[in-house]
Amino acid sequence: MGILAESSEDDVKALTWVIQVSLKAWADYCVSSGETLQVDLNEQFVGDFSSAGDKVLKAEFKDPNWIDRIATLVVVVNCSTLFRMSRNGKPVRDIRERREFLSKITTAFVQAALYYYQPDKTQGHYVFEGIGNDAIRHRFFSFLERLDSIEITTIQPSNPDKRSEKEIHAMRVISRDVISVVNFLTPDIKLVPGKLVE
């Protein structure tokens, strides 16, 4: 099981596509808004983060539905070091700037991921244009800003019990974050008639 798809091969493809198409949108947004933050995907880490999401879903969600999966994507991406960021040729390391970028692009990730989860064609398609309510949107951004980074470490065979305890705790924390994100997203994911893009 991966984050978006059951098979890890499909999952890595899907994650890469969702992130790349969102980064294309970010590049277009930069042109239209005068924003100068250039962002690239560290593709070599996508597989690791697919595995991390897989672990969370397997450990904490018996039968994750599509909203759980999209929320897992949001949490994993917001906790990750999946991006190389630079401004005017200089690397951006400021954590607030990185968080702000992730907050801005999160709705694009959700909308792009919805492309994979459409109901029957006759029923229309799902859209997510962002959180409509000002207070809840601010709460959501605050929440994203406070997500702890995911650290993928090599297993220490000398101390398996300690590792297991730590990992179980980490899984529970991440799953709580996922459940909270589901709670934020669900009211603003709408089923509308027609196709996603004509």
């Binding site: 539905n65 492309y115 029923q123």
Partner: protein, 117 residues
């Protein structure tokens, strides 16, 4: 809204009700329901609270109380399954949609301050 908990025979599963009406909540509201249940039934009676993605099971210490809350499908969001993309019909149109969503988020972040900053 005032709430009540309907009592049933000890061996039966208990149903949570609000003002006499069975609770129909999305599963994301279930932790609040569980908390309320524990408050109403005296927390010392509850041995464990087990949460799964589909239900919350409250297991009492003496097995005299038992509650299972089952969620309903969130309204307006039918099931959807992962479909690998063979070809994106119109990626440019999709990118345009995503730019709009980024712009809205960026606008929503203007003046955004978190406590502790």
């Amino acid at each position: 809204m005032s709430s009540t908990l309907k009592r049933q025979l000890p061996t039966q599963k208990r149903t949570l009700t609000m003002s006499g009406t069975p609770i129909s909540l999305s599963r994301y509201a279930l932790p609040a329901v569980a908390k309320e249940f524990i408050n109403k039934t005296k927390s010392k009676d509850i041995m464990s609270v087990r949460k799964t993605t589909t239900s919350i099971l409250l297991k009492p210490a003496n097995d005299a109380l038992h509650a299972e809350v089952r969620p309903i499908q969130a309204p307006g969001l039918p099931k959807a399954h992962f479909n690998p993309l063979k070809k994106v019909a119109n990626e440019r149109a999709l990118v345009k949609l995503l730019v709009e969503s980024i712009s809205k988020s960026a606008a929503g972040l203007v003046g955004f301050q978190t406590c502790g900053k």
